[in-house]
Structure formats: structure tokens, C-alpha cells
Symmetry: C3
Amino acid sequence: MKSLTEHLEFNVPSRRGFVNITPTIEELVRRSGVQEGLCLVNAMHITASVFINDDEPGLHADFDAFLERIAPHEPTSQYRHNRTGEDNADAHLKRQVMGREVVVTVTRGRLDFGPWEQVFYGEWDGRRKKRVLVKIIGE
Amino acid sequence: MKSLTEHLEFNVPSRRGFVNITPTIEELVRRSGVQEGLCLVNAMHITASVFINDDEPGLHADFDAFLERIAPHEPTSQYRHNRTGEDNADAHLKRQVMGREVVVTVTRGRLDFGPWEQVFYGEWDGRRKKRVLVKIIGE
Amino acid sequence: MKSLTEHLEFNVPSRRGFVNITPTIEELVRRSGVQEGLCLVNAMHITASVFINDDEPGLHADFDAFLERIAPHEPTSQYRHNRTGEDNADAHLKRQVMGREVVVTVTRGRLDFGPWEQVFYGEWDGRRKKRVLVKIIGE
């Protein structure tokens, strides 16, 4: 069994944002030498997500508007969590809706993607360093 | 290490719908010969989901009503993504809420399911061909 | 390849509640002897979730309020599923939003967690016995 573990670092300059990490993941799969296996990509922080969807800016604006509608940042006083001195309770909610991780198959040495699948880091409480874990495991 | 990779094809005749794919997954696990391992099932399209829940038509109607309430299809002009000529921005949102994939354990050659767990393909933008990937990996 | 499979049992005394199962999962990883691999933790019931977030009671109250806002328990008659004699349609919806499972990497014999990651069992329809499956697989 082969495995490769890598941590990616992000520092998104705005509160919320999306980063396409597909090329990085593909490169790590090549480096791992795994031909048949699984690739797990997960946010290591609980106010961020890793998810697979389309690389289209209009859609990203729709995601943001949708999440702000169902779990708005303001007023921050509406959340009990923010009584601890935080202002990011909404970011914890957004992360649950969008997910923590994706598991992608590796087949014949490549990520087995559908036509439009792209892996994104989703930031819900940025302007600080955060990490994503990539683990590739197989033979 | 053994592995089996299979692509399932769907063409749901309506915009939204659910297909119970549990028997197909069980048959693939048998064919794989894997006794101890993991089974990943994921939508290869970003306007579809794979999820595990109950096979009860009333519940499926509730899922549909819930998703239409929080991310309605109409008016399609409310979404920036639809300015690209698409009308399926809502389907991308519904997919995020319902999820892309499930990972199920294989134990003693069988899917290790709870009493009511059934695997569904969830279509949010149908009337076209789409695929689901099944990968079983283990020993 | 090594693997360890374990079922955890819960009987949450209220309708909804959260149980931090991180120490149990860590102990199972130690017992498995796996140094490099994956750990899958999933609810075996379709009105419960396993998810990773913060162990902060205010945040848990926010999760509960958020889920009740987008998928309220009352009035139970608003859901088609409840015509079957159940009153838990909302619990099926809450489970989809919060997720069924998490996959966590095992690196050098330990769960590779970010600074605040804690694994929770989320109950949406309690006062009955339910189970969670833990499978650790690797070398």
C-alpha cells in the first residue's frame, strides 16, 4: 500500500472566498504513484469547506448569496456562539451546508472526475491562515 | 488489494427525481470479491447527488419541497449562474445541500448498512444522461 | 492491510442532541494498529448524523436553531412522510443538511485533525437506541 499526505495552506484575504485546488490535487496524485485508490481532501478548520462543483464565478456568487440568506453573518448577535467573543457562528453553519471533505477515486493513476468536477476550498471566515489535508492511499 | 470501478448511467425523464441504486451497489460489492474495505459512490455531475436515506415516497416529496423552499428553481433570473444561458443554478445549490457522495463500509463481503439505509441517486437537473461512479477497494 | 470495525450505541434522552465521540474514535484508532490509512465514521440511522465541528455549547444551540428554522419539527402535518404515522420527517431533512459520515485520515497511527476538529454524533430523533459504525482501514 502506498500513501501520500500533504497539507495545503491558505490565507484568503476576504471573509469568504473560493479557491480552485484541482491542479494541486492532480499533481499530488501523480507524485503519490498510486494507480488504484482513494484521495481524501478535507478542510482542517471548522469554518471552511472542501467541495466539488463548477468553476463559474456567477455560480460562486449564487453560493454566497444562498448561504447568506439561510445563515447570514449579520447581525452577529443572533448567534449564541458569538457570545464567546467570536463573530463567526455563521461560518460554522455555512461549512455544514457545504461540507468538510470530498473523497475522489484514483483510477489508472488519475482522479476519476466527471466532465465539470472541480475541487474547491471554500472559506467562510478568512483573513487568517488555514490548512487543507490531502491523503492519497492505494496501490 | 482488490478494487472494482464501475460507472452507472442515468437518464431521469423529469427535472428532479430519485433512483434507488442499492441493489446495483450490492451486486457490485459481490462481484468485487472485497471482504473488508470501503465502497465509494459519487455523482460525476455537479447537479446531481448520491445520498443515503429512506425509500419512502412521502419523504422524497418532502425532500423536494424542502429544497424548492430554500433554493427554488423559479424565477431562474434570481441566479447569476443562469446569465451564462443555463437555467440550473438551483440544481447546483440543491446538490450541495444533499451531498455528492457516500462512503460505505464493506465487512465480511457485504455493505454494512443500518436497518433503513438505502443509497439514492438524486437528480436536480434531469432529462439528460448522467453518470455515477462506484469504487470498491479492500481485501 | 489491517482493518477494525466497531459499532457504537447511543440512546439520547431528548429529541435532539450532540455527543462528542472523539475520544472513543481515537481509542479505536490506537486499538486498530493502523499507522497510515482512513477512518470512516457514519450514522447507521437515517435520522442521525456524524459530523466534525467545534465542541462549544453555544454553537450547538445555533445549529439546533438553524435547523429548526429551515426544517422545523412542528407542525408535523406539513410533511408527507408523517402521514405514514411517523412524526420525524424533519429529522430526515436535518440529517441531510448535517451529513451522514466523516472520513478522517490516520497518519503515523493518529487521527490527523486540525486544531478544533471534534467528531460529533448528532441526534435528530432520539429517545431510542441508535448505532454508529467506525471502520479503520490501512497498514
